[in-house]
Amino acid sequence: MTQWTETHPGAGDAESIRHAAMRYRAGADQLRHLVHALNRAPDQLASVWTGNDRAAWSSNCKADAGSIARSASSVDEVASVWLAYAEGVESIATRERRLRADPASAADENYTRLRLNELANERLSLDRLTTSRLSAAMRVVRTQPPFDVAGLPRSAWSMSGFAAYAAELSLKDAALLMAKLSALPPDRVAELWSRLSHTTRRQLTTSAPEIVGNLEGIPYADRDVANVSRLRALHAETLSAIDSSRLDPRLLGRADLLSALLERFAALTLLLDQFGDGKGLRADPPQFLINLDSNVQGPPLASISVGDLDTAANATWFVPGMNSSVLEARDYVRLAKNLNDRDDDKAVVLFLNYKSPGPVEVLNNTRAIAGADRLGAMLDGYNASRELAHASTRLNVVGHSYGTVVVAIALSAADRRVDSVSLVASAGIPSDINASSLHVDSTHVFATQAIADGIAPLGQFGSGRHDPTAPSWGARVFGSDGEVLPDGSELDAVDGHNAIGGTEQDDKYKYFGRDTESLVNIIHVIDGEYREVTR
């Protein structure tokens, strides 16, 4: 290597620079050879390997081939920079040689110094330009893994590398990896999960079911497997806590704690009965336990999808009101079936994933704000999943009573790409929110309140929140007081505040009971048949 000086600005060996450039160029060719091998590999196995794992593996190969191809272009660019540098150094060296051979230069020292200074300045510019072009070419350097997960070895930074790395982890390390992944946004999680083999997904699920079951971006069928796998242990744990509570002096006089334990036990018994031994998947339509949060006192928080949310063309989130929990799951499943209207292409999610209020808390927004965060996260997760699948599915949100407060806060906070909203028997909407704040076409925001419903107005009055059926609020109001259709068929009027009854018989005349004007209208909204909605 040669150090140039102001008196020798043409120092340097252009040939050795060119030699280095050619080695970079050869390196780029090597990388392209890898690209070719990775691109061809999936096609070579197309006829002998079919199934989901091949799809994930092929997709990793193609993505990595693209990434290495970009790297090859950068290496080529580095080669070009060095070639240009060699040419520049050679040009300066030639002019320096000519200057020294020039008789005028020998006669005039000042003239020589001046010309050498010019050449030195040119060399300085050339060096700076070369350095900056080199760093620009190297900007594609992988300074982090594709999913920005800290602490992964460099070999795991490519798609194939990540899949192979995850597949080899011990249960303990897989659980640690899941903890890291849980910090990623849902679109990243969705992409990453789709690139893992079936076996690896199962391994990660076994290692950390409480994370997999609740992590947005993971397919709902996998989340169901994770959540259902936890039920038996949680059930046994709760039973043992109840047994030991009899001997625990700290629980003396704490009827609230004991009652929370008993409610938790009842809720888990119900979930086991609904989902244990694959019962959920065998139900018609199939039911999926798509989230399960046991880190609360009393019944766990959960969401149940009635219908396959991974494949449904029409998805609806239903948010219930006060005093709702997993304990009422059976009644809400009937409600969901009514909303599904025997359509296999629909899924209704029962959002029992927030601590609903009792009669006192219903008058303030605290529980709704917490619930809205959880609802928003689930809707964002759904959007990430449907985006990855390039699915143009419909997304609807329906709230009942205090559930309308949760819905309004969640949808006003961000654009959740929702197609329609139905606010049923609202316990009042916070005064800073109206139909146009929900990030939904306001002609697709609907509200209803039956004349016979005496509870909803009390909620609005007691809380100071606003009635969304008021003309000034901006929703399209639909009827729930009974109607005779043009074909002569009669739709029932709603006779109170409840969404659904305690039995199938009791469902009659409820907002979501069969044959009510209210339910028929909500189904029209969910289906996008807005013209069919009666007033």
């Binding site: 290597m1 040669t2 150090q3 140039w4 120092a11 340097g12 060996d13 252009a14 050795s16 620079i17 280095a20 080695r23 970079y24 050869a26 390196g27 090597q30 990388l31 050879h33 890898l34 091998a37 990775l38 590999a41 070579q44 196995l45 002998v48 390997w49 079919t50 199934g51 794992d53 593996w57 990793n60 190969c61 990595d64 290495i68 790297s71 950068s74 290496v75 580095v78 540098y85 060699a86 150094v89 070369t130 350095t131 080199l134 760093s135 190297m138 350097v141 992988r142 460099r154 070999s155 795991a156 930074w157 490519s158 194939s160 590398g161 899949a163 192979a164 597949a167 083999s197 076996t199």
Partner: protein, 97 residues
């Protein structure tokens, strides 16, 4: 679903061979004939080395992924064959019936 695990293993072997053929070339390129751009030449050389290592690791990982899939399939097939054989033996068959 259709799986020919031998073909998958052969391809995995071929991918590994492509990756391994570049290990010899994985040397630094640092001499660029000028001391002033020396630091830039060094960082370009380190960068190239890391890129090549990463690309080689990637192709080996793709091979490992294919091989793992083949192993998973073979284990499933063996388990099914083992179960069938056990059921076919007169003693177990009698119990199973």
């Amino acid at each position: 679903m259709q799986v020919d695990t031998i073909a998958i293993r052969e391809l995995a072997y071929a991918l590994d061979a492509v990756g391994s053929s570049f290990r010899e070339e994985n040397t630094a390129i640092s001499d660029c004939g000028s001391a002033l751009v020396g630091p830039a030449a060094h960082s370009a050389s380190r960068w190239w080395k890391a890129e090549l290592q990463w690309a080689i690791a990637t192709i080996h990982a793709a091979a490992a992924g294919a091989r793992m899939a083949a192993t998973a399939w073979e284990e499933t097939e063996n388990a099914v064959a083992g179960a069938a054989q056990a059921l076919a033996s007169p003693r177990v068959g009698a119990v199973a019936r």
